[in-house]
Every structure is written in structure tokens, then in C-alpha cells.
Symmetry: C2
Subunit: 148 residues, 2 copies
């Protein structure tokens, strides 16, 4: 389940990606146009900045901008920062692996196998979808990444 936080983060990042030649966009503007609670959005932008996805400028005429080209930032990165691993269950995660205490033989566990497949599929889609490919409509980018 994608949290509101992650959804807002994606919306904000998409808004920043649509900005021409890295012009600054203010939190209040994003909040209004994307229908996101302003103070909550600040929290999210703060976290995105600390993770190096965006940079910010303070004071009058301040705001936010992407820290990297839009085609190098993926949905997967953003979702992982906000909600943690993509895997439905920790034992099937690459980025946040944790053993299942109640499974005796992890290697043979059918549930783990299934969830690993789900994780791989989700990662294939979300890590292949960049802000760029999402902006310029459709999922062509994702599909290209999947077949590569």
C-alpha cells in the first residue's frame, strides 16, 4: 500500500520535473496546485532534500528544484525513501531484508518465492519509470527498461 506521503512525494517531484530549466518552485505553489496539505508537504520536501533528490533555496523567491536530471530519478527511489522497501514482505526484500522468524526453511518457502516475484515485478516497473518518462506521458520508459 502506497502511503499518502509517498503519493504526495511523487506529485511534488513530478511538479518539479515539469519546471523548465530548473527554475525554483515553492512549497505553497505545489501544495495548492497538487492539493497537498502545505505543512505536510514541507516535511516531505525536507526528507527528499536530505536524501539528495532535490535542493532548496531559502528566503524571498526561494523554493525547490530537482538536484539531478529528471531521467535519472525513478519512482522506485522516491517510493523507497518514503515507504521503505518495495517487497511485500521483508524476507523477499533486497534493500531491507529481514529473516522470517516463523519460517523454518526460508529457501523452500513458497510464500517467499511468490513475494519475491511480486517484488521483482514492482521493482522492474518502478525503477524503470523516471520522472522524465512519466511526464512525457505513458509508460514507454518503463516498458523499455523491462525489455532491456
Amino acid at each position: 500500500m502506497l502511503s499518502q506521503k509517498a503519493k504526495y512525494a511523487l506529485k511534488a517531484m513530478l511538479a518539479l520535473a515539469e519546471q523548465k530549466n530548473g527554475e525554483l518552485l515553492q512549497a505553497a505553489d505545489i501544495a495548492e496546485h497538487q492539493n497537498v496539505p502545505r505543512k505536510f508537504l514541507e516535511l516531505i520536501l525536507l526528507e527528499l532534500r536530505k536524501q539528495g533528490l532535490i535542493h532548496s533555496h531559502r528566503g524571498k523567491h526561494g523554493g525547490y528544484a530537482l538536484a539531478k536530471p529528471a531521467d535519472t530519478i525513478t519512482f522506485g527511489q522516491i517510493v523507497r525513501i518514503m515507504d521503505g522497501p518495495l517487497a511485500p514482505i521483508p524476507c523477499a526484500s533486497l534493500t531491507g531484508y529481514r529473516r522470517c522468524v516463523d519460517c523454518q526453511d526460508e529457501k523452500a518457502c513458497a510464500i517467499r518465492k511468490a513475494m519475491r516475484e511480486v517484488r521483482d515485478a514492482a521493482a522492474g516497473i518502478l525503477d524503470g519509470m523516471t520522472l522524465e518518462s512519466a511526464c512525457s506521458g505513458g509508460s514507454a520508459g518503463a516498458r523499455a527498461a523491462l525489455t532491456s
Copy 2:
């Protein structure tokens, strides 16, 4: 994120599927062998019965058994009963659709498109994986379903 409840449900259903010719299996036995809290498991089995996936027998020598052949029960059904829709976000769900109040144009929403792809991928895997195919090792069943 798969809840403990759903994970326990899958474990219980797999245990029941491994039972020969529909013999009864008791909650206490499942709880012990699968390392699931006994009372919590009862709650889960109750729900599975109410949804028609298993049937039960009370009294001494009672227990539970699958209500249908193991190759007609999928991971997807079980997970949906326990955790609800597979989609990461309601607006991308078929079984539990709910509109996004904060998105102006749902049809063009890039987030929805991405999450719809994730949902379809997850559904393809989980609805293609039956208790039967999971028991007899591997994900051959799921892959067969995906290419069909």
C-alpha cells in the same frame, strides 16, 4: 505490505493443501507446525471459512479442510480476503476502486498509471499461483498463467 495475518493465512492454506484426500487438520496442529499464534490463527481460519475457502468440523477430532481443489485456490484470493485489494493505491484497484480526491485528472495521472501497472503485475503473479502449484515447488504455475 503483506500483513502477518495474510502470511499466516497463506501458511495455513498451504498446510491444508498438503493434507492427503481432504483429511482434517486442527488449528492447534497448524499453529504448532507453522509457528503461528494459536488464537490468532483461529480468527484467520474463521474468516477463510466465512469466505468459503475452507470448511470446518467441530467437536472432538474436528478440524479444517479445503473447501475446493487446491488448484482452484489462488494466492490472490487469500491475500485479498485478508488485506484487501492488491493495488498499491485505491484509484488503481479493480476490486476496491476509490477515486483520488486530490487528483484533478485521473485519466492522465502518471502515478495512477504506474500503480496500475504494479497492480496488474502483482495480480498476474498472485492470481496465477495456486496452492497446488505452490506446493509442488516453484512458480511454474504462475509463469504459465502469465504467458497464457
